[in-house]
């Protein structure tokens, strides 16, 4: 996958549902369309939740990885 330029970083580690999603939704508003945000989360439910959230909002989940207990999501604003 080609490298993307991350505009915003959000550390949602340690937060429980629904705060990683709620904070991502608030943070993504600061981005222009097409820009990328990186989110780190430790909530295991966030894997399914970020996929669902991307489907409902139309923002694109372009990258997803896990390092130990930390999930990393890269999302492109619609």
């Amino acid at each position: 996958m080609e490298a993307v330029e991350i505009r915003e970083h959000l550390d949602a580690r340690g937060l429980s549902c629904p705060m990683p999603i709620v904070k991502t939704a608030q943070a993504i508003k600061t981005l222009a369309s097409g820009e990328f945000i990186e989110v780190l989360a430790t909530d295991p439910g966030s894997v399914k939740d970020f996929a669902a959230w991307s489907r409902s909002t139309g923002n694109e989940l372009v990258e997803q990885s896990v390092d130990g207990a930390v999930h990393r999501f890269v999302i492109r604003r619609k």
Binding site: L15, S16, P18, M19, A25, W53, T57
Partner: protein, 196 residues
Amino acid sequence: MTTPTLELPVTPVDPLARAIAAVGGPDTAPERELEGSVRTKELVIINWSGELDKIWPVLILSSTAAASGVRCKVFVTFWGLLPFVKDQKRIIGENWMQKMLTLMQRPGIDHLKLSKMNFLGMGPWMMGSLRKKYNVASPRELLGAATAMGVEFIPCQMTMDMFGLKREDLIDEMGEPAGAATAIEIMTEADASLFI
């Protein structure tokens, strides 16, 4: 010069209307119209209970709906109204019965009981400890997020009258009080509605 004709979207109300619309060819097929529509989905929650274990899902679902681009309205009625009373208010009402009510059930978002295993406050205290241990957002934090993201909280006028609550007793973020007809209208227009 020809004036462009305005094409109204075909709303498939019944199979017959669908069939008629489909005759127009693939360009006017209802599926195509629906696919292209940008109508915002809507969730309505009737918040009736007012206990910690009921307020929590109401606030989690409403804030997540707003975060997911789903318009969310919460009709706040009966016991559900007391958590939306301002912090500094303690005993409210015009007569002893109304005052008694808020004396027995302290209003405000930080003073919620559990619907089961309350044990004179032991239950909520333990739930609060667990919440902090697992870093779960409190009802207060969630309420802040929900209102900041545009969740509309509509207080029930009839309950306000009966409990002796005035608009200024309720938090400023609440919308204008309304009644059952408003609740019915928003519920029937919504894509999903819940009674919690």
